[in-house]
């Protein structure tokens, strides 16, 4: 039974089914095989029907463009942080340019969001309690400190996340820890570095390195 179809190449393209039934008559030329991908812009055989105009269409068009424009201006449009300048300039402190990477410039209702997403603003590394306590305690401590500090702060102050502390408690690889440390040192603009060691990283063009330097 299986021998029936094994004669390849004898006669023009034998197929397993009766080609006549599908409509290819005897002697009809089959289209040549396609050897390349179809063209990127195939020729248009007929033009598309014109777009429906009218008041509704016009209004929706205007709405669409207006929406697009409006959303770019809202705080939900997350812009990447401004690239670091090569030299830190005095005027940087006073420019109202794009917000620091991690500042969140709208006030979500934190009660409705998972707690790990909350971005904290912190000035000093006071809240750094030992990592043995469960996460909630750390959070509570911070909350109180933050509430006091929040009213005094300006937007440009450094922003770090409580995630860093939580992460220490997890069995993450070392790499992640190093990453956080670097990030912290990148974003700090005050004189207080974690370990009270000012290795001059905040100044000069090196601050963008992803810390291969040891952290003390």
């Amino acid at each position: 039974l299986s021998m029936a179809g094994r004669g390849r190449g004898r006669g023009r393209g034998q197929m397993t089914f009766n080609v006549e039934a599908v409509g290819i008559g005897k002697g009809d030329a089959l289209p040549p095989p396609t050897l390349q991908p179809s063209p990127l812009f195939p020729a248009l055989e007929r033009r598309a029907a014109p777009l429906p105009g009218g008041e509704e269409g016009e209004y929706m068009l205007a709405l669409k463009q207006e929406l697009r424009r409006a959303m770019r201006g809202l705080p939900y449009f997350v812009k990447p942080g401004a690239p670091r300048r090569d030299i830190e300039r005095y005027s940087d402190k006073y420019q109202l340019s794009s917000p620091v990477d991690s500042a969140i410039d709208w006030n979500p209702d934190w009660r409705r969001l998972p707690r790990e997403l909350k971005i904290r603003v912190r000035r000093l590394r006071k809240g750094r309690t030992a990592p043995l306590v469960p996460k909630q305690h750390v959070a509570l401590d911070k909350e109180e400190t933050i509430k006091k500090l929040e009213s005094l702060e300006k937007k440009e102050e450094e922003v770090t996340s409580e995630e860093e502390e939580e992460k220490e408690e997890e069995e993450e690889g070392k790499e992640e820890e190093e990453e956080e440390y670097d990030e912290e040192e990148h974003e700090e603009e005050t004189d207080y570095v974690l370990s009270y060691f000012d290795n001059g990283e905040s100044f000069g063009p090196d601050s963008d390195d992803n810390g291969d330097e040891a952290v003390y």
Binding site: L51, L63, S161
Partner: protein, 541 residues
């Protein structure tokens, strides 16, 4: 999820929320639900950036979260909701037609911000309306409030699930993420607020310091210690309700074009009466007696009771089954069929606001292909020869068209063997249309089309970026010069900075971008019909 959907979601996120949010959304869409750490690893972004992006996405209902049994929180992207961003203009426009400017702006604000408390929404809208009014006039909060209530009553907006009440004295640690929930019956209850006030006008002289002002105001708003009376109660747009409205509209216009204006009004009245009583997945409305319908007809329609009954009988008899007769009490009870069978697809070839989509797309292949397709829809299975005969198309052409449609999966071949050994010479080969497969294929094509349109539009803007920037600068200069009272000659000189050919270029750009935008809106209409059809067909048990 298909590649086409993924690509479209990506573009929508990037255009409306920026690249960081796009990256996060992309990662979730492509690899499925994951916790925060894995997201950070995947995207290569800073943890704070990812957190911010997640906050934005959750705020807009594009991502949901779930606490896993082991305590970690997993985030999941909602692809179908992301695709709805395309439809925002249509929702806003519909709100305008139903509830005027306050309705339009309320829906717009809710869409722009994801969800808002009522007090906040009303205040914002009142401010915006005040801006557009003449000097000295302000929009009172009560009018906006009453529109808000009407939107809630007709279910166009709904309450978001709320944080569960928890007693403060509980010793158990708070969960890593709140479990939000809301009962169906509470979803549309508007809190008793007495919102008193008028819209405020933004002073135009503060334009330069606006950045600073905004920052201060935000701080103020955030730090305002008086909690609003509806604290914790947030509202969002109920997209499903809008979809139901679109379906009703399409139904009414189908009736109007197939029969006449009056019958469409009858159907519209029936639908309006059943607006909030029809469950979202139902296939028919609740039965309405003809007496009730007669009482609810709009004031302008003076048709007698018998005439109404005749119309109802006609509608019930129509083979497209818009209306069904369900009983005889109260002068006869009738229901409207609200799901979309293949009838939605295959509509009479008359000028029709929503022409059959298959026909529309078959414009690409030609009207003869359309004829063959309609034939197959009607007759279900046909042999090659029969197709040629019934469609009255010469064999060669018919063959060619059938193969093209076959290669695009619009039709398929069905084998019917005459003998048990399935020998090819003794087997029937029938062409048939698999409606669902065709619908899905077309939907996929639509997604691809919109994605292509968006990319092209962005490309056009990018190509002309330099010119656009220049034109914006000139506009800004002109505006400031006018404000300081410059002479006409000076203004003219500044205007001349943009040369004639450049103006031409800008005009062409604007025309093209408008065309592309309008096309995107148009394709979304098609997407809506196809999605509704597929959804209603797969729901049937």
């Amino acid at each position: 999820m298909t590649q086409a959907e993924l690509r479209l979601c990506s573009l929508l996120l990037q255009e409306h929320f920026g690249e960081i949010v796009e990256k996060v959304g992309n990662s979730l869409l492509r690899t499925g639900p994951r916790p925060l750490r894995l997201l950070v690893g995947d995207t290569g972004l800073l943890p704070d950036q990812v957190k911010k992006a997640l906050c934005v996405l959750i705020q807009h209902n594009l991502v949901r979260y779930e606490v896993q049994p082991r305590g970690s929180v997993e985030y999941e992207a909602r692809s179908e909701r992301i695709l709805r961003i395309l439809r925002y203009p249509r929702y806003i426009y519909t709100a305008k037609t139903l509830y005027g400017d306050p309705g339009e702006l309320l829906v717009e604000e809710l869409l722009l911000h994801g969800h808002l408390p009522m007090s906040c929404a009303v205040a914002r809208v009142a401010d915006r309306l005040t801006e557009t009014m003449e000097d000295g006039k302000t929009m009172d909060y009560t009018e906006v409030s009453s529109t808000f209530v009407r939107l809630a009553d007709t279910h166009f907006i709904q309450r978001c699930p709320t944080v569960p009440e928890s007693s403060q004295s509980t010793k158990a640690p708070p969960p890593p993420a709140p479990a939000l929930a809301i009962a169906e019956k509470d979803m549309y209850i508007v809190p008793q607020l007495s919102l008193v006030g008028k819209g405020k006008r933004r002073h135009s002289c503060n334009e330069e310091e606006e950045g600073e002002h905004k920052a201060k105001r935000q701080k103020q708003e955030g730090g305002r210690s008086e909690t609003p009376p509806d604290d914790g109660i947030y509202w969002q747009v109920n997209l499903e309700r809008f979809h139901q409205h679109f379906r009703d509209q399409a139904l009414v216009s189908a009736v109007a074009s197939r029969m006449d204006q009056t019958s469409s009004e009858v159907v519209r009245t029936m639908l309006r009466m059943s607006e909030v009583t029809t469950a979202s997945g139902a296939s028919h409305t609740q039965p309405l007696s003809s007496n009730e319908i007669f009482r609810s007809l709009p004031a302008g329609y003076n048709i007698g009771k018998q005439v109404l009954d005749q119309y109802l009988a006609l509608l019930a008899d129509d083979p497209l089954e818009f209306v069904g007769k369900s009983g005889d009490s109260g002068g006869g009870t009738y229901t409207v069929k609200v799901t979309w069978g293949p009838g939605a697809f295959w509509a009479p070839p008359r000028p029709f606001p929503h022409p059959s989509l298959i026909l529309l797309l078959l414009h690409r292949f030609g009207s003869r292909c359309a004829r063959i397709f309609r034939l197959l829809l009607r007759k279900k299975h046909l042999e090659q020869k029969q197709v040629e005969d019934f469609a009255m198309i010469p064999a060669k052409e018919a063959k060619d068209m059938l193969y093209r449609m076959l290669s695009e999966n619009l039709v398929s071949l069905q084998e019917i063997p005459k003998t048990p050994d399935h020998a090819p010479s003794r087997t029937f080969y029938l062409y048939t249309v698999n409606v669902m497969a065709a619908a899905r294929m077309l939907l996929h094509r639509c997604y691809k089309s919109v994605a292509n349109l968006m990319e092209r539009r962005q490309h056009e803007m990018q190509e002309n970026k330099r010119l656009l920037d220049k034109s914006q600068r000139v506009e800004a200069i002109l505006a400031s010069m006018q404000a300081t009272g410059a002479e006409a000659a000076q203004l003219h000189e500044v205007e001349e900075m943009i040369t004639g050919p450049e103006r031409q270029q800008l005009e062409t750009l604007k025309r093209n971008v408008n065309k592309i935008d309008a096309s995107e809106n148009q394709v979304d209409e098609t997407i809506f019909v196809l999605e509704s059809f597929i959804e209603s067909t797969t729901k049937r048990p």
